[in-house]
């Protein structure tokens, strides 16, 4: 009987203990909080340190892509071996050189249905050769990795249309078998991406 009555007191004592713990915790938090300083906040935007644009003109009409037509169906002056030039402007906002990787896509928009292959054009950057390109299905993708100094730098991209594929038609209309397989085509050159090399 005595044991049962002690048992009845247990919930009351436990409740009192719980209330005491909660009150003690609240007081501890209330005492601790003022010891922290106020919170300060800074907000702003961080932009990429570089930007690039391309154009058919050396110092104007900069943008993300350009289109041009190579050859002329009507006048039959399509000549393999010619070089089209596109300019790439690189802007480095920092006061130290940065190495950037740029991905350039060259696509053929019109002409024959034959897809553009890496061997159809020779790609140069700032006069440097050795860019083999990767066939992507819609065109050829070239990767350029180059160090740029502070400020603005303009370099040229050269695309030489190889004789083996783009043939000159010396005598149109006479059944000459030397007729070019592609008299004229429209091309688009796009700056796909720019990234700083870490």
């Amino acid at each position: 009987m005595e044991s049962t009555q002690n048992h009845n007191l247990r919930p009351i004592l436990l409740s009192l203990l719980l209330v005491t713990v909660i009150l003690s915790g609240s007081m501890a938090i209330a005492m601790l909080a003022p010891t922290l300083s106020n919170t300060v906040t800074a907000i702003g935007v961080v932009l990429p340190p570089t930007s690039q644009e391309i154009s058919l003109i050396h110092d104007d009409a900069w943008g993300g892509s350009v289109t041009f037509t190579y050859g002329n169906e009507e006048h039959n002056d399509f000549a393999g071996g010619d070089t089209a030039t596109v300019y790439l402007k690189s802007l480095n906002h920092l006061n130290r050189p940065l190495t950037m990787t740029s991905i350039i896509m060259v696509e053929k928009l019109s002409g024959t249905n034959a897809p553009l292959k890496p061997g159809h054009i020779t790609f140069t950057y700032n006069g440097n050769v050795g860019y083999s390109g990767v066939e992507t299905g819609s065109g050829i993708q070239y990767t350029i990795t180059q160090m740029y100094g502070p400020g603005e730098t303009v370099c040229d991209i050269g695309m030489t249309f190889n004789n083996a594929h783009w043939k000159h038609n010396p005598d149109p209309g006479n059944g000459n078998s030397n007729e070019s397989p592609e008299r004229s085509s429209e091309f688009m050159v796009t700056l796909v991406s720019t990234a700083v090399v870490a």
Binding site: L36, N38, G44, V46, L47, P48, L94, L98
Partner: protein, 200 residues
């Protein structure tokens, strides 16, 4: 009737409650005879006041730090480019009569996410610049992952000694931003003193 056991004797619970109320009443009555009651009200405020501002151009050296222009709880640092260094000046006032020993803790949030394993800052340094007796080696912040992928916690790590009692110090925090860091950044900072701060 419910009973409880007190000193081995079985006593009705009702009787225990009545006795408890009587004791309480008597205690309250006795207190008024002991003396009058005095009351003190007041607020306990943070002893440390932290303010920040963007660096002021046109002033040089410690003169810059004594200038009281522009201190605030919030600053907008506008736009900068990855690879640059963001500098924010701070002013720390210790209103208490004990010194400040603790750490500065900053939470950095980026709109594009941020990862403690590959943080967006090359390093973060706190430099005390004034008064001259407080100028010391820069304090480096270490980095921890925050509560999610958008938060990283930067904290000094050494229970650093900041201001002596009543002193005000000035300095700057430099964030060297990585070249590939891009996004809108929110940096929140506060001073967390150690619990057993002592007079310096």
């Amino acid at each position: 009737m419910k009973k409880v056991s007190i000193f081995g004797r079985s006593v009705p619970l009702f009787a225990v409650l009545i006795v408890g109320l009587l004791v309480t009443g008597v205690s309250a009555a006795v207190v008024s005879y002991l003396s009058n009651t005095v009351t003190a009200d007041g607020n306990v405020e943070s002893p440390y006041d932290l303010k920040i501002r963007m660096p002021i151009t046109g002033l040089e050296g410690s003169v810059e730090y004594w200038d009281e222009t522009g201190w605030s709880d919030t600053v907008e640092f506008g736009t900068l480019y990855g690879g640059e260094t963001l500098t924010i000046e701070y002013k720390l006032v210790n209103r208490a009569n004990v010194g400040v020993i603790g750490d500065v803790q900053m939470e950095v949030m980026c709109s594009n996410g941020i990862d403690a394993d590959n943080p967006d800052f090359e390093n973060v340094l706190l430099r005390c610049m004034a008064p001259p007796e407080y100028v010391d080696s820069p304090i480096a912040f270490r980095v921890e992952q925050g509560s999610d992928d958008c938060h990283v916690l930067y904290t000094t790590d050494s229970d650093h000694i900041f201001n002596d009692a009543g002193d005000t110090t000035y300095g700057k925090i430099e964030f060297v931003v990585k070249e590939n860091a891009v996004g809108t950044y929110t940096i929140s900072g506060k001073l967390i003193p150690v619990a057993d701060a002592v007079t310096l």
